[in-house]
Amino acid sequence: MIFSHDVVIVGAGGSGLMAALYAKEGGADVAVISKLHPLRSHTGAAQGGIGAALGNEEEDHWLWHAFDTVKGSDYLGDQDAIEIMCQDAPRTIIELEHYGVPFSRNKEGKIAQRRFGGHTRNFGEAPVRRTCHAADRTGHAILHTLYDQCVKNQVRFYDEFQALDLIMTPEGVCCGVVAYELLTGEIHVFHAKMVCLATGGYGRVYKTTSNAHASTGDGMAIVLRSGLPLEDMEFVQFHPTGLYRLGILVTEGARGEGGILINDRGERFMERYAPTVKDLAPRDLVSRAIYQEIREGRGINGKDYVYLDLRHVGREVIETKLPEIATFSRTYLGIDPVKEPIPVAPTCHYAMGGIPTNYDGQVERAGRGSIVPGLYAVGECACVSVHGANRLGSNSLVDLVVFGRRAGIHMAETLRKEGRKKEPLPDNPDRRVREMLEDILSRTQGEPVAVVRADLQQTMMDNVSVFRTEETLNTALEDLKQIRERAKRVVIRDKSKRFNTELMDAVELGFLVDLAEVITRSALNRTESRGAHSREDYPKRDDENWLKHTLIYREGEGEYRFDYKPVTITRFQPQERKY
């Protein structure tokens, strides 16, 4: 079928729903297509909070938030966009509150705020209470409230429709998407004046991740396949505290409420790595510190994990401020954090890189000002870039809502001002998707998806995680070459039209392979260490050569081209990064 809407948003997490809500309130006809029911989106798993200089607990300023974000990004974040985010954050949080988000409250009845890694007062003096939260289920509170509001405002939802391709005119204007309906197995065309990708991250590229099974980077891979670039893909965040072996997130809020990391000798080792802010250092630093402790034999019982100790925090704080993580710890590890420390290790958590956009969400083809007409991207799949080389905790939810909102407003305003018509659809807009699915369904001999995917996730975990060298990255590239060939021959057993999740698993494997390759190549290309990208063979940050964003283009199978884009610096000149 062909469906027709002014605005088609792909993905129904925090940024997609914000864009939908504001575009709809601005008068546009809005549809949201999502491969999951919206309430299953991964925003719902965000725990600790959302950063904004509301100053409800103590003095705070948006400029302090901006400085922390710039420093946290290891000076790779674009400061114009960061200023916008930090200035917009307080009023956007207030709007969320007015929509009904059930935030935790302080004694005065205002939104409660807590400490988080890398957030400080007065340009680095000491930790500040900036992170607004709804206990440790802040993402869940925001996601459900936004969905309730979208339902109220009669946003049109197409649930369990998986977008598989963009539709571009020969002139390079985006005029729709091709989507697969899980229930029926039908391929549909969504014809639109504007498309906004809000498809989230790609954590499933790695073996150990806090991300949902659905986090397969679909939007980024689709953009790459359409000849558009991805930005800063070498920057992958490993969250320091995933439940050991499982990777399930334990919020940084646990350390914000007073939790500390200890090694096998019972030492609070972060004191050595970040003397001022200690356990509340940014995530890149803490993850490296944990691995360093493990390498030097101070992991618990000599193994590859450390302890997150909450015992001194007390039962009341744990039960009221951190109830979810207490439950996870009890359920999955049989450990009660009131009485025992929690075994943790770094887990793949967040993509700093993604689809390059300006601060209104418009996708850029080749650096500043080169807009792809009709195409927007917001949320984790986009790279504005406000996170640069390393995102601060509680800056992801704020990125989602601030830039989702801005894109929604921008789309509605542009439609109103320009009254733009839909570009005519090119011939056979769904041909690529049909061929791809027919190919997968026609195969009779080969490996199952899961076997190839597991090998992909293993090599990325071993070779392209927290520490990297030319050698490990080349090993990964060699492995990926084989994996790419194997992925092309995977066989599925389910050939039915109805709710064929195995077919989508095979498609998503293709996306994961593409993304693993651009992550690895971008990491090999950047011969310095910055933020989450830590090259042991190039241990220093190199501003002279690398204070710039990477753009990677796919030119053909296995062929890539790099380009670069300068970092926007407004107020904060790069300095050595110490905490």
Binding site: L36, S41, G100, P102, H140, A141
Partner: protein, 238 residues
């Protein structure tokens, strides 16, 4: 350990009736029930179909009937489902909902009921510049109810729902509670008539199945009782 996994399979495209299939798998007692299903899908039979996403009890995708009880597959471990070697774990779709395929149910009715209760904050007073104030005590009234992940385990465990498919059911009524008891909400007049109705609150006989089924351990019956009292009071005042 080795366990038998019995799954109720049904693909309406090819099957006239649902049927049981049994798989023997090697599992770790600390594996979640979802991991067991994933092992079967990934390594034994790729056509086995179920919903899943976050894998740790937050997204609400994988509510199903496991060993006869409605649970989230990702939030229950093998060690809590079997006593020993060779024991059986059974998986079925949530009861009484139309089955799309295997363990996947059609949730459209479930979400229609959710939409019916006006599940959003209704306000008349213009919002202040800053946040609306809400005391910790006022927040405590809705805290538990806001944990709901809309997985459907409660509604599909409710005998009143089994008997009357039009009954709004615990999940939708809990959502009505969550907004009606939110100190910022001014929509009781609009919302209460929906729940104070033949297919609403009064079909809740406080059987407590919802409480037992809820994977987030929400005290649903308690909040529905509070909503009943509120409905009676508002009706008396009218």
């Amino acid at each position: 350990m080795n366990v038998k996994v019995k799954i109720k399979r049904f693909n309406p495209e090819t099957d006239a009736e649902p049927h049981w299939e049994t798989y023997e798998v090697d599992v770790d007692p600390m594996d979640s029930a979802l991991s067991v299903l994933l092992h079967i899908k990934w390594h034994i039979d790729g056509s086995l179909t179920f919903r899943k996403s976050c894998g740790h009890g937050v997204c609400g995708s994988d509510a199903m009937k496991i060993n006869g009880e409605n649970r989230l597959a990702c939030s229950v471990l093998v060690r809590d489902l079997v006593k020993g070697e060779g024991d059986t774990i059974t998986f079925e779709p949530l009861p009484t909902a139309p089955v799309i395929k295997d363990l996947v149910i059609d949730q459209s009715r479930f979400f229609e009921k959710y939409r019916a209760v006006k599940p959003w904050l209704i306000t008349r007073t213009p919002p202040p510049e800053r946040e609306r104030l809400q005391s910790p005590e006022e927040f405590a009234l809705i805290d538990d109810a806001t944990k709901c992940i809309m997985c459907g385990a409660c509604t599909h465990a409710c005998p009143s729902t089994w008997a009357d498919p039009d009954y709004l059911g615990p999940a939708a009524l809990l959502k009505a509670y969550r907004y009606t008891f939110d100190s910022r909400d001014e929509g009781a007049e609009e919302r209460l008539p929906v729940v104070d109705s033949r297919e609403g609150l009064w079909k809740c006989y406080t059987i407590f199945n919802c409480n037992e089924a809820c994977p987030k351990e929400i005290d649903i019956s308690r909040w529905l009782s509070a909503l009943k009292r509120r409905a009676v009071m508002e009706a008396a005042a009218r």
